[in-house]
């Protein structure tokens, strides 16, 4: 499946779910010209039309000679580091209320820098720990004492 076709299919599925959900929005009252559902339903309609056009376009493009299968072949490999950053960020968001700002942010910074910089030399570890060790408390001090914004 091409990139555009996958996108259009995913969007159409999302539109279908949301359209069904829009049925739960209360009906318009006697003094309203239109109910609360009409605006999101118009938008969902527009999104569906654009997704359908994208889908049709994707079939038209692959039916042209010389283009078949090109998109699948050119699709970039899943980037391990990008996936890793997302996983680390998800873990950070989950641990933030449990461990508090200082410990969870320090952990996130060290882990993410280790993933991106590598851990093969002592120099990299020094850079990693120094950056995290300075930046994390600095942001904490600025927010807590400079701006009076509470951090967990």
């Amino acid at each position: 499946m091409t990139k555009d076709r996958s996108l259009a299919t995913a969007v159409l599925l999302m539109v279908a779910v949301l359209f069904v959900e829009s049925g739960n929005i209360p009906e318009k009252t006697s003094w309203q010209a239109y109910g609360s559902a009409i605006y999101p339903q118009i938008l969902l309609g527009c999104i569906a039309v654009f997704a359908l056009l994208l889908l049709l376009n994707s079939f038209r493009q692959t039916s042209q000679p010389g283009t078949k299968g090109a998109t699948t072949a050119k699709r970039p490999r899943a980037n391990v580091k990008v996936v890793g950053i997302f996983v680390l960020f998800g873990a950070y968001a989950a641990l933030l209320p449990v461990l508090g700002y200082l410990a969870s942010t320090l952990g996130f910074m060290v882990a993410t820098q280790a993933l991106l910089l590598g851990v093969d030399t002592r120099r990299k570890w020094i850079i990693n720990l120094t950056t995290a060790g300075i930046l994390v408390p600095l942001v904490y001090v600025i927010f807590e004492y400079g701006l009076n914004v509470w951090l967990p």
Binding site: V11, I25, S36, P40, N79, A93
Partner: protein
């Protein structure tokens, strides 16, 4: 207006606010100097620091970042041949060859001065045109405003590099995101019986998630593709006398490029990159020696830097006067104003004249601080632009998370950031332009309010077509779509004879 301007001058002129502008300009230049960081990212990172500030101080800081950010792209553009921001691409054409010819200080100095004059001229344009457009648009009723927002969204979607359908779809998705939660009639929509969704999504974590994650992940992928980044030579000296004589010989070029930048900045969806190419092209056409462009001449650097910096003032015109952001950084700036309880639009000039004056004054002071900082701290900025992405990405992500949390002291906003980060990244990988999406998020609530106000006054939808300006904006929206389709077809036809490559 004069009285408000003086009051604004007093408010912005105090030491605290001035130091905020200096800090903003410095951070903006740093942000612009680092390849792949961009002005938008700099604005997003600094924004959480304004939560506890009063609106004038917060806006002064943000304006500083804005002014500094547009001028900061020159450092890596000249020294590395890699534009720090997309709006300084043409700076590389002449700045990099000049640096390679042994005159990096001259290239940087010319660019900095041109940036200064560009910003200054665009501020004059903003002060002159802003109130005029706002006064005119005071006649706009909900029908016209609805149609104007639709026009702005189609224009931005149409400019999405051959991805019109995806651009329009992105804009509609952006608008849809704002429908989650209680609406203006206190009816719940799309809450899926989850308490956390009843108040909808905050604009800030949504915007940061969509933009910052895709941008940062893109930087990581680029890094892996390119290998180790080149380092900037920090040993730079600016030949002051020479650059002043270069600029004085290019007065017309500076003025023309600044006017192009200011005007292009005022058009929704265009931004610094378009201004950059347009003014470089015009400078070449008006030049007596067009063949020398690209070899390292001052003309090219001036055209590029004056125009991209002039976008800063120009982009404020539609934002302040109409409530329609000119480009992506301005869309974020508009989100900033909204979160500070200020609604940009024609009424802002009547209801908040001091605040409008503060923006003018901050821009003016920011321009002077920008050129002073650039010239004095050029070596330091060159050094900063060497910060590797491996350190930058975790730091920015951490600041994004802290900023999202600090907005309402709510951990749900960090999850919103994360989820929209994944959505933004996947959409970006699928080739969906993110600017219309973000613009949709920023304008969504206003569009719905105006549409319903119009329908409450007259339930007949055809009124949108019978009111002249409303009909004009809708016709322009349609025209922008047709124009994009024709443009795309032309590009496809041009590519076909070359074997579709």
């Amino acid at each position: 207006m004069g009285e408000s301007f003086l009051q604004a001058l007093t408010e912005v002129g105090d030491v605290y606010t001035l130091s905020l502008i200096v800090a903003g300009v410095l951070f903006g230049i740093v942000g612009g100097s680092i390849p792949g960081f961009t002005v938008t990212m700099a604005i997003l990172v600094v924004f959480p620091f304004t939560f506890a500030m009063d609106p004038v101080s917060g806006i002064a800081l943000m304006v500083g970042v804005f002014v500094g950010g547009y001028s900061g792209g020159i450092v890596s553009g000249v020294m590395l041949g890699i534009p720090g921001t997309p709006s300084s691409i043409t700076t590389v054409y002449d700045g990099y060859p000049m640096a390679k010819n042994g005159e990096p200080g001259r290239a940087l100095g010319i660019g900095m001065l041109a940036s200064f004059f560009g910003t200054l001229i665009s501020i004059i344009m903003l002060i002159f045109f802003g109130p005029l457009i706002a006064k005119f648009s005071m006649n706009f009723r909900p029908w016209e405003i609805t149609a104007l927002i639709v026009f702005a969204l189609t224009l931005v979607a149409g400019l999405s590099n051959g991805a019109l359908i995806k651009g329009l779809m992105a804009a509609a998705i952006g608008l849809f995101i704002t429908t989650v939660g209680f609406d203006r009639n206190s009816n719940l929509r799309f809450d899926f019986e989850l308490d956390v969704l009843t108040s909808g999504f905050e604009i800030l974590p949504v915007m940061i998630g969509i933009f910052a994650f895709s941008q940062l992940m893109n930087n990581i992928e680029d890094l892996q593709a390119q290998g180790d980044a080149k380092k900037v030579d920090t040993n730079v000296t600016i030949p002051y006398r020479k650059i002043f004589s270069d600029i004085s010989r290019q007065k017309l070029n500076t003025l023309r490029s600044s006017l192009i930048g200011g005007l292009v900045g005022a058009l929704p969806g265009t931004g610094g990159t378009v201004a950059n190419f347009l003014s470089y092209d015009q400078a070449k056409k008006f030049s007596r020696h067009p063949e020398r462009f690209g070899t390292g001449i001052p003309d090219g650097i001036i055209a590029s830097e004056a125009s991209n910096s002039a976008v800063a003032g120009g982009a404020f015109i539609p934002t302040l006067a109409l409530g329609i952001p000119g480009d992506l950084p301005m869309a974020i700036m508009m989100g900033v104003l909204i979160l500070h309880g200020i609604t940009p639009g024609p009424l802002m000039f009547e209801q908040n004249p001091v605040l409008v004056g503060s923006i003018y004054v901050s821009l003016l002071i920011g321009a002077f601080i920008m050129v002073a900082c650039q010239i004095v701290l050029v070596r330091w900025f060159a050094r900063v632009s060497n910060i590797p992405q491996q350190i930058l990405v975790p730091a920015v992500l951490m600041l994004c998370a802290v900023g999202s949390f600090a907005l309402n002291n709510n951990l749900f906003d960090v999850w919103v950031l994360f989820v929209f980060g994944i959505i933004g990244y996947l959409l970006w990988k699928a080739g969906v332009p993110l600017t219309p999406l973000i613009l949709g998020v920023v304008l969504g609530e206003n569009l719905e309010n105006q549409l319903f106000r119009a329908l409450e006054l007259d339930p007949d939808w055809t009124t949108f077509l019978t009111r002249p300006f409303s009909a004009l904006f809708l016709a322009l929206a349609l025209a922008s779509i047709v124009f994009s389709i024709l443009q795309n077809r032309k590009i496809t036809r041009t590519l076909k004879p070359q074997g579709g490559t």
